[in-house]
Amino acid sequence: MPFESVNIFEQDFWEINENLEHLKKEANAESVLLIDKAGQLITSTGDVTEMDMSAFASLSAADFAATSQLASLIGENEFNTLFHQGKNLSLYVSVIAQSVILVVIFSKKTTLGLVRLRVNSISKKLNEIFAHIFEKLGAAKEERQKNFGEDFFKEADSEIDNLFT
């Protein structure tokens, strides 16, 4: 279900972060980001304070989407991984659970081979976590109804009115 609303609960979130931290350390990467296919950042690890995260997430998703279309033009379903090589920093992008994009930013301190190896070994775990997240859609709906009622809407309306004037 690639385009259902993504609802991340506390326990899953910390488990995801723990895995990303582990990946960053094991791959000797600079940072690791997890982005949904709509271009929204789910979480990140590493020093990303200098980076415009929203723009990065949006462009990563677009990059992946465009490349998937290229794949389909040559009869492939999609390319599971992408690699962009830079002078100082490079990107390794791969898809998790068919709906989430994992981006590893790494420097010359490590190698593409090591990054690929570590991503492969963590993918299984992340796939399981996201499979679990998507299984809980029923619970997610309940949680949404609990959190987002009339009070929330009224406060949101007032914030929107104040902002867009």
């Binding site: 609303s5 993504v6 609960f9 296919k37 789910i42 929203s54 989407a65 949404r144 929330f152 914030e159």
Partner: protein, 193 residues
């Protein structure tokens, strides 16, 4: 669709500006960018051709603020309006929470609006959604020009569903925020679905 993170207390929603080429979608985003305080909006990303026509999309993230403890953010996208960029439009619609259809009011663009609306309905159906359920707001742009179609004629053809609509002059900012406000409020109400 929307991303709700209960651990970091964040909500992200995606609103897409759709419509025929040169209708004013990017102008809407540029106006919003110019009027919102830098602290609450991100960078405006434009993947455009050298002639400033949208090639892939424009993107602008806007922080609405913290609502009941949830940091709420809208991601605003435009699609390229030119007919032959349909593959790009399909990609940008993925995960959409709300659509603002920017129609060009000029008489000579009447048919282009209809084509673009039909194209949007097809593309929305392609991702398993329907314009009868997804939040949709129509903006009739360029109302300051002399050669425009009457509003009721545009409404009859483009808005049989009777969704909210606004008249606009995006170059001057007229109607830009009204349209965005209307769509944002409907999108927020879909969070409980």
């Amino acid at each position: 669709m929307s991303l709700i993170n209960y651990a970091s207390r964040e909500i992200n929603c995606k609103i897409v500006y759709y419509g025929p080429g040169l209708g004013g979608k990017t102008t809407n985003l540029k106006y919003i960018y110019s009027k919102i305080a830098p602290g609450i909006r991100g960078k405006l990303i434009s993947l455009a051709t050298e002639l400033d026509r949208t090639l892939f999309f424009d993107f602008l993230p806007v922080d609405v603020g913290t609502i009941k403890g949830f940091k709420t953010r809208f991601h605003l996208y435009t699609v390229p309006g030119q007919v032959y960029y349909n593959a790009s439009r399909k990609l940008i619609l993925k995960g959409v929470d709300g659509i603002i259809f920017v129609a060009d009011s000029q008489i000579e663009r009447f048919d282009d609006n209809i084509d673009s609306m039909e194209n949007m309905k097809l593309n929305v159906a392609n991702i398993g959604l329907s314009t009868s359920t997804i939040p949709l707001v129509i903006q009739y742009n360029k109302r300051d020009l002399p050669n425009i179609s009457p509003l009721d004629k545009l409404e009859t053809v483009l808005n049989p569903q009777r969704v909210p609509y606004y008249e606009a002059v995006a170059t001057q900012g007229v109607g830009v925020f009204d349209t965005l406000k209307a769509c944002s409020k409907i999108v927020i109400r879909t969070l409980s679905r």
